[in-house]
Symmetry: C2
Subunit: 351 residues, 2 copies
């Protein structure tokens, strides 16, 4: 017995931008299960569906793939304090890896934000700074603190190292499916770091000859905030800021993604497309997947599933195609839907 | 590329009591990370500490190891409805695997119970029956329904198949550490299914000659409910029902574990011991581990860590020893501690 390779995405260290093993900050991220849920797949008309459970990463979301690399880089550089603007999965992920690295972590969040994810970040010891005003105000405060002080802006949305981490999702899919790469991958897109990472990962595998084609990469957003979808539909090459409203997919309420133009380009180059879905469709898929497959995801993750149903209806994904959908965040952290009515026990005779 | 073995604990199928591959109900459980958190280890005086993150199983707890085997067995038998009495991790785990198997699931819970775990079970479509009265009343209702109706009592506390699943924790530790098996394993014990599983797993490895000794297995309970500790201290061979009170370690508030006598025997045969810890010690370790290592566990899991500190103080674990502690449940499902006070942003000059 005894394994030849480490049980985390760091088994791909030759492809990662951290050379010094002592700098690696790992919590066992990556190598998440790839499931083939036949009953749920049949229910949405796609037997060739695979789900990549990135919700089972150490802090409960795919962000850990990016954070493990970006925080390892901070450690390599000797950074001792880092900040980010996130009240969601990226923030709780950064808080955990900073704790593991012995790096101080400060998160800027909207003053109204009150989520389990902030509570999680606090558990890891992060300092939470609440900023009144809009999301832009929060980002401005973060940038100001960065420029004023001796604290590094570890932006998950901007760091190139983050994408070098998320690219490992492509390595794992290729490792597990081998020659049977899927025809499609369908992503919930906010900042787009998982879609861009998958693109980068598949390109690297193609370059070294380990695969011979790249799946179509599709982008799904919420109707309440759909900057990439708008640009895609209009045939634009630039993603512009769009209006936004409340949505159950809070994790992708980003009105102008920093890398929007790259996302557009990747969708087009791979032959993918962009679709927007309603909250009701998202919650339907959340419930359907949980009850038919035993996988409980946060609503944001389920936008991709609702989008997959749309792509099937439009014939952009055929019944015999194979598709992989990453489940990006855990339902334990953000259940989204309300619980069903409960049954009180009645007279024994009714049991 | 392409893996020779499945990425779940079913890679050990030769050791599991399910022969027919079509009956296997898997959500990708097992193969959880084994971390070596040096800073946290140093903080509690044990550099040779490893943590086995069973909190990263599909439903967020180690129970999935047992449930995947017991529900696969139900599927093999053609059972179409199952029940259990659990408002905690075992219940939400059963609900998920039943959903994946297409088996109806009913959970009996105390009427006062109101946890995120029940909400999680509901998300998977489980029927929740609230029973007024004590825990014994809940168990009685479950048994009555089982005897009256055509519904199988899938008791996590009694099923032998459950232990056949939890034994895989020993296989994984032996796989990863090879010849360097730990001197100790320290378990949070309620029903004891993980400790008993580890014992069974190590024995099987010993019998086939893959290991040459078994670590000392220690049992940690809450001072608020400590039936095994009481029996161990008194030198008894039988575990008796004890009084119980509220505790942050709600998952191990079991006043008479069904397999208590076996637990006692295993502790003694391996040279382990039994200790009880206070809520304050549990919460201290929860916070210390999260802030020093980036691992966020539910309070119940942290009883084992508080117990490890006790065992170090008493000299039952030496500074140079190696120990593995399973982290049994996720902090996302049961944060336990209150959030820290938050900082509101003040004038810019103070940033």
């Amino acid at each position: 017995m005894g394994s030849s390779r480490v049980r985390s995405l760091w088994r791909y260290q030759e492809f990662l931008p951290v050379r010094d093993g002592d700098s690696v900050v790992s919590l066992g991220e990556g190598l998440t299960p790839l499931l083939h849920p036949v009953v749920y797949g049949d229910a949405i008309g796609l037997r060739g569906l695979h789900l990549k459970l990135d919700s089972l990463n150490p802090t409960g979301s795919f962000k850990d793939r990016g954070t493990t690399v970006s925080v390892s880089k901070l450690k390599e550089w000797g950074v001792d304090r880092a900040l980010d603007d996130s009240s969601g999965n990226a923030g709780s992920s950064l808080a955990a890896y900073c704790a593991a690295a012995g790096i101080g972590c400060r998160l800027y969040v909207p003053s109204a934000a009150s989520s389990q994810k902030i509570r999680q970040a606090e558990a890891y010891g992060a300092e939470i700074i609440r900023v009144p005003g809009s999301r832009s105000d929060v980002e401005r405060s973060a940038r100001k603190a960065w420029k004023n002080g001796k604290i590094y802006y570890a932006s998950h949305a901007l760091s190139p190292y983050f994408i070098d981490g998320t690219k490992t999702v492509a390595f794992e899919i290729a490792d597990e499916l081998g020659k049977n790469l899927p025809d499609h991958m369908v992503f919930t897109v906010g900042g787009g770091s998982l879609l861009l990472g998958a693109w980068k990962g598949f390109r690297e595998l193609l370059e070294v000859g380990l695969i011979d084609r790249i799946p179509k990469l599709h982008c799904i957003q919420s109707e309440s905030c759909m900057p990439v979808v708008v640009a895609f539909r209009k045939g634009m090459s630039r993603v512009k800021k769009v209006p936004e409203r409340e949505t159950v997919a809070a994790g992708i309420r980003i009105s102008k993604p920093a890398r929007g133009d790259e996302i557009l380009e990747v969708i087009r180059r791979t032959g993918g497309s962009a679709e927007a879905v309603a909250d009701s469709e998202i919650l339907n898929q959340q419930r359907l997947m949980a009850t038919k497959s035993g996988i409980f995801a946060e609503p944001t993750s389920c936008a991709a599933l609702a989008g997959l149903v749309r792509l099937r209806e439009k014939g952009k994904i055929e019944a015999d195609d194979a598709a992989v959908v990453p489940i990006t965040g855990s339902g334990f952290k953000d259940p989204g839907t309300k619980p069903l009515p409960v049954h009180m026990e009645r007279a024994d005779s009714e049991l």
